[in-house]
């Protein structure tokens, strides 16, 4: 393989570039990124950066003086992928990049509710975070739509800034998709204890206001006043540019356990990719930092070996979230019906370790302010039943 193009210049793309070089790839490396920035870290955007405790410089993902000997094409999006004698990536400025291998690392984009009222935000980029912070500084009431991790973290920061905060969630409990309803409910108390109003099982009908948002109207007729609204209803994979390329797309780019896509010479990593997870028996799009940082090493092997390398065993998905100084950590994947038990600490103190089991097997672990035992329990996720 003489040349590789990486599309997407964020965590997964940078990690792929590092892995390719570390694995001895000496050919031409091109990195295409729609954002004009060098790769930067997103988790602080809803935490330290939003709170003003970190600056743009702190967000840099590259090390000082790090040189991957790559050609960076930043500020220009890829618009298509064509298969011919080589792979050809068309760019928005009319130019193209040809390569023998392609890494798709285009991540995800925040889902929106539509409309164009000012004061309504999503949070995915540095610009989003700066705009949200500016609006929070001038506001009294924040409504967060969607009780996921990003929304909850923004709620935390807004509370420390002294805002009145309400979170509205359509599901019966917060974080239910990631943590299941029981543990989601356990974490709800954490927010209520910090003065956040949490309204679950309530769907949003519309946002109100003229020019600028002034409230959120719920399906049950309730109306919440708001100066700022954060829409935190998840993200969709940024894969539209692959239309017509032959790369199979479902909820994200469909990949095997090594990151290979349906097109030879093309792998996909990070938030845009749904790798086959043998422990689950299904494809799963994982939208967390650690997967986007670590899986590219496997994908690079797949690419450089032409698919011959046997992929490393897939580490279970891992995520963390910081809320009111509490460290929330979760590894694995939970499905409705899993049994959950608290193994250490207790729910009332909100310092606990909970284990999720399916047919006797540990499938996930949740730690709230238990980094030490979490680190130990995490290693047991997906071990065969009865291994310990």
């Amino acid at each position: 393989m003489k040349s590789v193009a990486i599309v997407g210049a964020s965590l997964a793309g940078l990690s792929a570039a590092r892995a390719l070089r570390a694995q001895g790839f000496g050919g031409l490396l091109t990195i295409v990124g729609a954002e004009a920035h060098r790769p930067y870290d997103r988790p602080p955007l809803s935490k330290e950066f939003l709170a003003g405790r970190m600056t743009t410089v702190d967000l840099a993902l590259e090390g000082d003086g790090e040189d991957l000997d790559a050609e960076w094409r930043l500020g220009v999006a890829a618009t298509g992928l064509e298969q011919g004698r080589s792979l050809r990536i068309a760019l928005a400025d009319g130019s193209a990049v040809e390569a023998d291998g392609v890494v798709i690392a285009t991540g995800a984009v925040a889902r929106t509710l539509g409309g164009d009222l000012s004061g309504v935000h999503t949070l995915r980029t540095i610009e989003d975070a700066a705009a949200l912070r500016a609006d929070l500084d001038a506001a009294r009431r924040l409504v967060v739509i969607g009780a996921g991790f990003i929304g909850a973290e923004v709620a935390c920061v807004a509370r420390t800034l002294g805002l009145d905060v309400t979170i509205v969630e359509a599901a019966p409990a917060p974080f239910a998709r990631a943590l299941g309803p029981e543990m989601g409910t356990a974490l709800a108390g954490l927010h209520e204890a910090h003065g956040v109003r949490l309204i679950c099982g309530a769907a949003v009908r519309s946002l109100t206001g003229e020019g600028r948002v002034d409230g959120v109207l719920l399906e049950d007729g309730r109306r919440l006043d708001a100066d700022v609204v954060l829409v935190g209803i998840g993200a969709r994979p940024a894969v539209d540019w692959l239309d017509g390329s032959g790369v199979k797309v479902g909820d994200g780019v469909v990949c095997d356990t090594g990151g290979a896509t349906s097109v030879p010479g093309v792998v996909a990593v990070g938030d845009c990719a749904a790798w086959f997870d043998p422990a689950l028996g299904a494809h799963l799009r994982v939208e967390h930092w650690t997967g986007a940082a670590r899986r590219p090493a496997t994908a690079a092997q797949t690419l450089l070996s032409g698919g011959a390398a046997v992929p490393d065993a897939l580490a279970p998905p891992y995520l963390w979230s910081d809320q009111y100084g509490m460290r929330v950590q979760f590894a694995g994947h939970t499905l409705p019906g899993d049994e959950v038990s608290v193994e250490e600490g207790d729910l009332a103190s909100r310092r606990f370790l909970a284990v999720y089991r399916r047919e006797g097997r540990t499938v996930a672990v949740l730690g709230v302010d238990q980094p030490r035992s979490f680190t130990r329990w995490r290693r047991r996720v997906n071990e065969p039943a009865g291994a310990r």
Binding site: E48, R53, M54, W289, Y318, W320, R327, F374, T375
Partner: protein
Amino acid sequence: MIPACPLAALPRGEALRIETDPPIAVFHTEDGELYAVDDTCTHQDASLADGWLEGCEVECPLHASRFDLRTGRVDAPPAKLPVRTHQVVVRDETVYVVPSDLPPNLPPGVRTGSA
């Protein structure tokens, strides 16, 4: 030289945090070696003594960067800077730490009491 603990109080495979400023973590590896590094991860405010000790490396409990206890070197992001190492001395069955006079690599937002 700072006394850390009696040697018998730190079994192999275990770690101890001493409340110096900044705190220091002392590790006793499965192979019987003793190492000391700054307890605070260079990425964010996590205690490396809470991490996972494997061979001469400790994995940060929060985001899994691994530090080589002999050199302080970090293997992979998110941490980018090495962790400062300190010398360990065992005298009369007691573990002592000789703190380094190099500056620490503390994460953004974490400061020493004196600074």
